[in-house]
């Protein structure tokens, strides 16, 4: 499909383990449309963070990309050479990493770190331009001269956003950008992210585990479980009527601020990648599981209204 900002086709990422090959991302396909906000939600072992790294071609041994295409516009990132992928990073597609506290160099002023990133791509930049960039992410004047330890968590994360947007990429991947921040700061950082996206007309891939945050931020949502994509739908649709049992139970397990519920978790445990159940990976915990689920692995099917679900009974 042309015109997509980012298209993932059948991506496979595996890790070598003494006990066998672990499929951290198993045949995942989805499309990120231009100017769209797409969320990828999942829990431990779902593979969502591995996806982010794989798209940026930052997977290190013993992990490797086994197959599939990562199409950024017309370029296939999966097949690019070392030099070419370095040029594509930051200029074409940028990553705002998890844990902003650790992403910044503690002995360099933050303004210098932004300039560093740009210089690496052959773009020289003036102090005024750096200040303008800081202002664009809502940081007060003079921030560029500060060291990371002089900034709060939210401010550091915004510096990371500034680095991510300095070369005006078409796609921004934000991997749990606010997990270390409190709710008040989280809202502000997400607001900044939204503003910045408007400004650049870029597409955002937001990766996280907080459904509430997804519900308030993204246009479309993908749900991952055990390395597989189990549902994709517009956010309003997925919240109104989740098709996959995992999505349904995940939404039901969230604490509401409106009414007191009996607290309902999902029984059982997420499967270990080296010990995946046969057929549908979710069947041991699924209240709707039948025999077919233990033998036949469900593939994502289009169910109309832009909904895809990988379940035999959706």
């Amino acid at each position: 499909m042309s015109g997509a900002a980012l298209e993932i086709q059948g991506l496979r990422v595996s890790f070598d383990h003494p006990l066998g090959l672990l499929r951290a991302v198993d045949d995942v396909s989805f499309t990120l449309r231009p100017h769209e906000r797409f969320g990828l939600v999942g829990e431990s072992g779902s593979g969502k963070s591995t996806m982010a790294l794989a798209i940026m071609r930052m997977i290190r041994p013993p992990g490797h990309i086994d197959g599939g295409n990562i199409l950024l516009g017309d370029t296939n990132l999966a097949t690019l050479s070392g030099d070419a992928i370095r040029r594509a990073r930051l200029a074409g597609i940028a990553l705002v990493p998890q844990g902003s506290m650790n992403a910044l160099n503690p002995v360099m002023r933050v303004g210098a770190q932004v300039a560093d990133a740009m210089r690496d791509h052959g773009v020289s930049v003036s102090a005024r331009a750096i200040d303008a960039l800081m202002a664009r992410v809502g940081l007060p004047a003079g921030t560029a001269q500060k060291y990371p330890h002089e900034l709060s968590g939210g401010m550091k994360q915004r510096v990371c956003i500034a680095i991510a947007i300095c070369l005006r990429p078409t796609v921004i991947i934000a991997d749990e950008p606010t997990s270390a921040l409190d709710v008040v700061v989280q809202r502000q950082v997400m607001r900044t992210l939204a503003d910045v996206q408007q400004d650049l007309n870029a597409a955002i891939l937001l990766i996280g585990h907080d459904m509430g945050l997804m519900a308030q931020f993204v246009n479309r949502l993908g749900v991952m479980y055990a390395g597989r994509l189990v549902e994709i739908a517009p956010i309003a649709e997925i919240v109104r009527k989740p098709r996959h049992p995992y999505t349904e139970m995940l939404i039901a397990s969230l604490p509401s601020m409106d009414h007191k519920d009996a607290l309902r978790g999902i029984p059982g445990l997420a499967p270990l990648l080296r010990d995946l159940p046969s057929g549908c990976a979710f069947h041991p915990r699924c209240p709707k599981a039948r025999d077919r689920c233990t033998t036949e692995r469900p593939e994502p099917r289009a169910l109309g209204d832009g909904v895809l679900a990988a379940c035999h009974f959706a």
Partner: protein, 279 residues
């Protein structure tokens, strides 16, 4: 174990080199008469031959026998000093790092002062003050007197880190007292680190003892590696062209240090999982 050695080449090389040494000593013990390591046992200044594989020195020692007898002595000094140093260091490190406060300041202060003073100087002074020559064991004690300084400092840093771990707090809540926490919760996790520190300390102790011996401050009768080198110096063996006299001890010293070095690097990798290159 063998599988791990394949993934940790440094450790494998280190063990291999030290194994060569052990084999040399063991085989040597069977093949020679230790009496030949004493002066005036064999004709002097013979080149290496079938009868005398390492040649003989000016005082009539069979150098092969000398090496076979002397190497274990040198190693013994190193081990005794190293083990003593690390034991004392560990005790002081835990007392200082776990209990903090005044006792920490005192121990740290002494260690810091001790570390800044040139060690060899102190060792020389001690060695010179001992009347009537040193025995091998006394040599070990002399070196041990300073061997605890570095271990105290480095192990203390580890204790400071471990002390903040969640499981230490849980142990406190489970009713364990200080010494119990130190023995049962902290030391097991430090064993790889202590092992690496021990190998380091042994290396340093051997070096210090050789240093003292080359200056003539060691046990004069024993054919340790350092004393052999002292006699090499004393008799100007290099200028006189008696190459076999200094080649053997230096080769063995090299073997010892390379072996210990590679073992340290290998143990470092066990002690610090982040250095591991494979899963």
């Amino acid at each position: 174990m063998l599988r791990y050695l394949k993934r940790n080449p440094s450790l494998a090389v280190g063990i291999f080199l030290l194994a060569i040494l052990v084999v040399f000593i063991a085989v040597g013990m069977l093949l020679t008469d230790p009496e030949d390591a004493r002066p005036l046992s064999v004709p002097a200044l013979r080149r290496p031959s079938w009868a005398f594989p390492f040649g003989t020195d000016r005082q009539g020692r069979d150098l092969f026998a000398a090496m076979v007898v002397g190497t274990p002595l040198t190693l013994r000094i190193g081990f005794i000093a190293g083990i003593l140093g690390v034991t004392i260091g560990t005790i002081l490190a835990f007392v200082a790092g776990f209990y903090r406060g005044a006792v920490d300041t005192i121990i740290r202060g002494i260690a810091d002062i001790g570390l800044t003073v040139p060690g060899l100087l102190i060792l020389i002074i001690i060695a010179v003050s001992v009347r009537g020559g040193l025995t091998v064991n006394q040599m070990a004690l002399v070196v041990a007197s300073l061997a605890w300084l570095n271990p105290t400092r480095t192990i203390r840093s580890q204790v400071l880190t471990l002390r903040e771990r969640g499981y230490v707090e849980v142990a406190r809540l489970s009713g364990m007292n200080g010494p119990e926490i130190i023995f049962f919760e902290m030391i097991p996790n430090l064993l790889p680190y202590l092992g690496a520190t021990l190998v380091n300390a042994v290396s340093a102790a051997i070096l210090a003892s050789i240093g003292l011996e080359v200056l003539g401050l060691g046990p004069l009768e024993a054919p340790t590696l350092g004393m052999t080198l002292y006699w090499v110096n004393f008799n100007a063996a290099i200028i006189n062209g008696w190459w076999w006299w200094w080649t053997a001890p230096i080769a063995i010293v090299l073997l010892v240090f390379l072996g210990l070095f590679f073992m340290t690097v290998g143990l470092d990798e066990i002690a610090n999982p982040r250095l591991r290159r494979s899963v």
